[in-house]
Every structure is written in structure tokens, then in C-alpha cells.
Amino acid sequence: MAKDTLTAAEAPPRRDGTLAHIGHVLRENPVTMLAFAMLGFFLGCALLGPVLVPYDPLATEAARALEPPSFEHWFGTDNLGRDVFSRVIVATRLDLTISVAAVALSFAFGSVLGGMAGYWGGWIDAVLNRCLDTIMAFPLFVLAMGVVAALGNTVENIIYATAIINIPFYARLVRAEVNIRRNAGFARAARLAGNGDLRVLAVHIFPNALPPMMVQVSLNLGWAILNAAGLSFIGLGVRPPTPEWGIMVAEGANFIVSGEWWLAVFPGLWLMLAVFTFNLLGDGLRDIVDPRKRT
């Protein structure tokens, strides 16, 4: 048998486990490491926050209203004497739940719709495109306002509204990624290997769309939080006195002009930090799901 000029038989077998690969990605990039550490912190707050905080986030104490940050009240107190620090930490669970649930919904629906449209094209594609165009014809935040106003002021409806405005991003991304691979050599080879269309799409083509989708997921988690907080800020969705970052900033805004900055600034900073964390996650998540990053 003819021998390859470039045989590399001496190469050791590569059997990196997924965990080892994740470890490798984290070590490679300190920014990713930082992002995952911050994510861990926020997840910790969401899970354990309500148990650990020093004060009841809803307990008012009129005598100690509007106190600036001190050793006792790290982030000061608000106009009703509630501890801002406790409220900020407790709010993490609600804000993360909204964004993760919304992104999961739009990821699932967008993937299915976009995958079908990208693979089969034709009328499915045409109909889907028309629908997405119509959704995208609204400024997204405005559409979310309309949806929440129409469906009613609840946390679930904020999740649905946020999911709806994010679906087009996933659907279009998946559609494009599937479409360019629909007739790629490996997809045709998979058909020759006895795979039906659905299996080729789900097992062979779709996973290749995951790396760019992970970047989208990370950006969208950030947007989703911003979106939910924005809706609360204008009085839609979550209602006071529930601790939520958007509402807290909205309530604190009234005191900014008189100099009581801590009411708005701390929840605002926390919100910013959360969005920032999600945005930084993108590259790391992408590298984890991309086998080409395995060396």
C-alpha cells in the first residue's frame, strides 16, 4: 500500500475530555476566566442571596431613611429605610431568572424555526422571513412595551415579551449557518451514510451553528436583563416593593437631583456588572463548544 509522505504516526492519541477542554479554554484567556468567576458570583447571589443578606429586603424603618453608605448599611438605605445592599443582592435571582428563561425560550424556538427555514428553504423560508421582518419592523423595546401592556403586567409576560423580540436573532443566525452548510460536503456525506434529512439537520449541521450562537446567547442574556430592567423602569412588569434593579434605579432617580446618589447608583452598577459579565462570556462559551479550538 502506498505510504503518505506526511505520516504522523508518532503523534500521541488525543482524547481530551470535555472538562479538560473547558479547563484549557479558561487557562488560555484570563478575560474568560474572570467572566466565569463573575458568573459564579452572580449565580451564588441568585441561589443563596436571600439567605445570606443582613436585612429583610422588604422591611422598612422610617427612622433610618436615606442614610448614606456606612459600615452598618453598606449601600445605604432608601427613602423607606430599607437596606439597599440586601435589596440589590436579593434582586439578582429575579433578574437572572427573567433573562435566562427568556433567552432559553428564544434559543429553542429560534433554532427550530431557523433550522427548518435554512435547510428546506422554499415556502417555509418565505413565510418565516415575512414573520421575522414584521417583528423586526418594530423597534424591539417598543414591541416589548406593547406586548407587556397588552398581556398584562406580570413577570411571565416580561419573559414572553423578551423572548419574542429575541427570536428573530436566533432564527436568522441559525438559518444562515444552516443554509451555508446545507450542501456542504459533510452534509452530503452524511446523507450518503444513510441519514435522513431531519437527522442530517439535527445531528450534523445544527451543532456546527453552536459556536456563533453562543456569542449571541451571551449578548442576549445581557440585553434581556437590560430589557427587563428598562420595562420595570417605566413601570411595566415587576411591581414595587419587589426588589428589582430597574425599579430600584427608577425609584432612586427621584433622589439623584437632591444628591442621594446611592439609591440609584448601586442597583445600576450591579445591573451593569451583570450585563458586562454576560457580554464577556461570549468568546469563552464559543471556544468551549467549538472543537476546532481543541489543539
Binding site: M1, L6, P12, P13, G185, N208
Partner: protein
């Protein structure tokens, strides 16, 4: 005119420094046509970028001198370099369409260069640009002046690129793989044009190519490069008849020329006797009146216009033609990935075209018709290891699993000469030749009766091509498969196929035993194809 001494180039990358060019020296005399030949990664293109000082970010010249007509190009100020580029030394590139600004009229792009080098004024720029288009023999230059690159064919775009390069009458032209991706007849007309213009203007040229045959035909002297070093320099005749360096010899051997045999492509020590394959009388597959029509804006277009042919059991049939002739559409229909608009495909007498392509995956004959794809990289799922790629058809259709599956994958890897440890690698961790082997192992996993080979070596270096072609010959004899070999390269088809079909414009224009078609083509187009192929000097029998 141009002298290069001890040139080295280094690139800083994230994984440390790489040295694509390591101390090379050569010269180009006035009016001389020099060829630089090497396989991918030999540093031949980087050399030309270095002497033009247009290296990508991170690259720098480490050592050496580049002297052009007494000017030290390595130390010249960037200002001076700008007036040398395009004015004294010009360059043309591969992939001509991408080499032109997509949103600027081609006439304006020529004017930009003329104005930059003060070869025209605002008033006469248009006239001179049209003159430049005329010089490269573009039909109707007046109208083409206003065209955008996307409105022109690949060959036309390359002519425009040449017009830009020659607009200011430089004294040296560097052509970096100028015909890669062009059809063979277009390649010939572009190369003839370059040679003719160079002679008429007494211009020197450097042709950078992977194709030794092409360089031999068009150059006075050839420099052979490998891994950033020059291994041999000499006249084409001498290189082909008496190559000194073993690498040159291997390259010469691997270049398919008239008179070569499939085994003679390999280095002398690897030449085992060619195994015979037995062609039987009954057809394994018959295509009857195959038609494929695509809808388009200006009405339906027939890509394949009712062709009929048969492949006998054990036979290798070549399907030859240039891009757009319908050969890919035909092979897609045969392999049942595409439904013909009308016509029959009889496999062992059974019409498999009656089963829609979308449902053929579950057809019992699916395992009998397999395919090796053109681009090995594209044909492997980036998320699957070599082993899982080979295992897929075995698991889906062969009913294998567990240890039996693993053993069969290992057996197949041995069969195609893929070292076992590489099986657990992902495609991006494999070389081009190794990926080709994985693709072949996957295709033969179920020992199909008919294997369709869609330009399986088009993306490979010639030395790897030689190995892969020989592998295919061995497998054919061993497993008794029939081949449908789709290619644009008659020289390769000649080595592998018993019979050949030539397609043009969706129709079969000539068919017959390969030797007969090659030596006495009946159709003028076949003759043009044969003549357009580079004809290097005949090598000495080794």
C-alpha cells in the same frame, strides 16, 4: 535586474515565530521569465510579498538584500517603494475576482493606478484606461470600462488585473498563481497573453505556481522551493530530464505528463507493479436520457440535456469537462443526492431515479453507491473525529456497533494507509492528504459497487495527489469497485480511467476508450482541452 541574496522572512504569531522563507538567493535578468515552483507552505508567495514589501501584519524581513536596478528595496523609504510598485514592478494574484475592488468600476481602478504614477492626466485617463483594456484583448473595451467586477467572468477579471498591473509599463511582472481556479482553456489564454505581452515589452516576469508543468512550459528558468529554501535551480528541460535534488525528482515524477503511468507518479522506491482490475461486460449502472432543469429568472435552464451512458462492472469511467458543463450535476444525480427532471438511472437494472433523493437514504441500494468529495476539508464534519466519520455509514447502514465497529474502522484505516493514532483527531488536526484518506475510507466502508470520485485530488499538492491516485488504483483492484471519475484534468483521467466521456454545455460531445480519445480526439473541443493542458518536456523513463 533583480537580485535577492540570503532573504529570510519571519512572522510573529500567537504560537511563536514562524519562518516561511529561510535564506534564499536568486536573480532575474532583464526580460527573463523565471518560474518559482513549490507545494503549499514552501514560502514561494511570501517571497514575492517580501520583495514588494507588502507582507501582512506581523511579517518582517529578517536578513538579506533585495536589489532592483541598484536600489536596495529592503531599505528604501515607503514613499519610494510606492513609486516602484505598479510603476517598476507589478504583481497579479490568484482569485482575480477577489483581487478587484468589488464596488468600483474596472475602468476607474485602472485610472487610479495611471494617475498615481502620473502616467495620465484627468483629461486623458479614460482614453488610456481603455487603451490598457485593449492591450489585454478584452472585447469591447469601451463598454467594459464601466463594468463592475461581478459582471465579468473569471478570465475577464484576470485580464483586468493584468491591465492594472501593466498599465504603467513596469519592467518586472510577478504573477502569483495567476490561473488557479480558472478553467484549463482560460488558463492557457491568460498564460499565452502574459507571455506575449512580456515579450513585446521586453519585460521580465516571475511566475509563482504549484504546477511544475505550467512553469516548464512558460518559463526560461525554474527555481524549486521547499520549506522556505531553494532546493534546485535550472532550465525546465534539464529539471525534467536530470533532476539533481531528490525533491525535484519527486515533483517531476508526480506531475502527470504524457507517457506517465499511474505508478510512475510515485518515487522510484515505492513503485510496486500496478494491480490489474477486471472489467466485466454487464453494466452496473446505466443513465438513460438524464435531464436536469433549474428554474431561473429568465426561464428554465437545462444544466444537463438528456445524456445517456453506462458504467460496466469493474470499469472506471472518466467524466471530463470545464466548470458549468454539467458534470457535477450529473454526478449528484447518479449518487442520488439530486433528483433528475426526467430520465432513468438503472442500477443492476432497477430504476433508482424513481425513488426521490430525500428518501433514498433508507433505500437498500444506498450502500452500493458512495462518493468521495472534491474538498476533503469541507466533506468532514468539523465536530467529528476521523474515527466517527468512518464509523457513521457502518453504524447507520452496516448494522455494526461496539467492538466490531471499532475493529472495522481500524481495518479501513489500515486499508487506506491512515495511521491508527490519527483516528481520534479532529479534521483541523489532520493534513490535506490525511483528510483525503479519511474521506476515502468512509466512502469504501460498506464496499459499494460504484464509487463516484468528484475531483478527489483537486485541492491537494501534486505529491499527495500521486499517492491518493495510487491508493484509488489499489482499492479498485482489491474491492472490484466501479469508478465514475469526475475531473477537469485530462492528464489525471488518462492515468486512471478505461473510458472517458467529455461534456460541454450539458451534453456529451465525445466518448470512447481513454487512449483513443486522447490520441485522436474527434471533437474540436476535446482537442482544445488536450492542447490547453500544460505540456512539460517528456521526462526520462526512470
Amino acid at each position: 535586474m533583480l537580485q535577492i541574496e540570503d532573504l529570510s522572512v519571519a512572522f510573529r504569531t500567537r504560537k511563536g515565530e514562524v519562518n516561511p522563507v529561510r535564506g534564499i538567493s536568486f536573480e532575474v535578468a532583464r526580460g527573463e521569465q523565471l518560474g518559482i515552483v513549490g507545494e503549499s507552505g514552501s514560502g514561494k508567495s511570501v517571497t514575492s510579498y517580501a520583495l514588494m514589501r507588502i507582507l501582512d501584519a506581523g511579517g518582517e524581513i529578517r536578513t538579506g538584500t533585495i536589489s532592483y536596478g541598484g536600489i536596495d528595496l529592503r531599505r528604501a523609504a515607503e514613499r519610494d517603494m510606492r513609486s516602484i510598485r505598479g510603476r517598476e514592478i507589478s504583481m497579479i494574484f490568484q482569485n482575480p475576482r477577489a483581487a478587484l475592488n468589488p464596488i468600483r468600476k474596472v475602468g476607474h481602478q485602472i485610472e487610479d493606478v495611471l494617475l498615481q504614477h502620473a502616467q495620465a492626466t484627468r483629461q486623458d485617463a479614460r482614453a488610456k484606461a481603455i487603451e490598457a483594456l485593449e492591450a489585454v484583448r478584452i472585447a469591447d473595451p469601451q463598454a467594459r470600462y464601466d463594468a463592475y467586477p461581478f459582471e465579468l467572468s473569471g478570465g475577464m477579471c484576470q485580464r483586468v488585473v493584468i491591465a492594472i498591473a501593466l498599465a504603467c509599463s513596469p519592467r518586472l511582472l510577478i504573477a502569483d498563481e495567476p490561473t488557479t481556479g480558472l478553467d484549463i482553456t482560460t488558463q492557457k489564454s491568460v498564460m499565452d497573453l502574459i507571455r506575449e505581452l512580456a515579450r513585446a515589452r521586453e519585460m521580465g516576469s516571475i511566475l509563482i505556481t504549484h504546477d511544475l508543468g505550467l512553469a516548464a512550459q512558460y518559463c526560461d528558468r525554474i527555481v524549486v522551493m521547499k520549506d522556505g529554501r531553494i532546493v534546485e535551480t535550472g532550465a525546465p528541460q534539464r529539471l525534467f530530464t536530470e533532476p539533481e535534488h531528490p525533491y525535484t525528482r519527486r515533483l517531476v515524477d508526480a506531475t502527470p505528463v504524457v507517457g506517465a503511468s499511474i505508478r510512475s507518479l510515485l518515487p522510484a522506491e515505492a513503485r510496486t507493479p500496478e494491480p490489474a482490475h477486471r472489467v466485466q461486460d454487464h453494466p452496473v449502472l446505466e443513465a438513460v436520457d438524464l435531464v436536469k432543469t433549474y428554474p431561473s429568472k429568465s426561464g428554465p435552464v437545462q444544466a444537463v440535456k438528456g445524456i445517456s451512458f453506462a458504467i460496466r462492472a469493474g470499469q472506471s469511467l472518466g467524466l471530463v469537462g470545464e466548470s458549468g458543463c454539467g458534470k457535477s450535476t450529473t454526478s449528484e444525480m447518479i449518487v442520488r443526492l439530486l433528483d433528475p427532471s426526467s430520465g432513468k438511472i438503472l442500477f443492476d437494472g432497477q430504476d433508482i431515479a424513481a425513488v426521490p433523493a430525500a428518501r433514498f437514504a433508507w433505500h437498500p441500494l444506498r450502500r452500493e453507491i458512495q462518493m468521495v468529495f472534491q474538498d476533503a476539508t469541507d466533506s468532514l464534519n468539523p465536530r467529528d473525529t476521523g474515527a466517527s466519520a468512518i464509523a457513521e455509514p457502518l453504524a447507520r447502514m452496516g448494522g455494526l456497533g461496539g467492538r466490531a465497529l471499532k475493529a472495522r474502522v481500524a481495518e479501513l484505516a489500515d486499508l487506506v494507509g491512515l495511521p491508527q493514532p490519527l483516528l481520534s483527531r479532529y479534521p483541523h488536526q489532520l493534513s490535506g492528504g490525511q483528510k483525503a484518506r479519511v474521506g476515502i475510507a468512509r466512502a469504501i466502508a460498506l464496499e459499494p459497487k460504484l464509487l463516484i470520485l468528484d475531483e478527489p485530488t483537486a485541492a491537494l499538492d501534486v505529491s499527495i495527489q500521486a499517492v491518493v491516485l495510487n491508493l484509488l488504483v489499489d482499492l479498485r483492484a482489491r474491492l472490484g469497485m466501479s469508478y465514475l471519475f469526475v475531473s477537469h484534468d485530462l492528464n489525471v483521467v488518462r492515468l486512471l480511467c478505461d473510458e472517458v466521456i467529455v461534456m460541454k454545455g450539458g451534453e456529451i460531445i465525445e466518448r470512447g476508450p481513454t487512449a483513443q480519445v486522447m490520441s485522436a480526439p474527434a471533437h474540436p473541443y476535446t482537442r482544445a482541452l488536450i492542447e490547453a493542458a500544460p505540456q512539460p518536456p517528456v521526462k526520462t523513463p526512470a
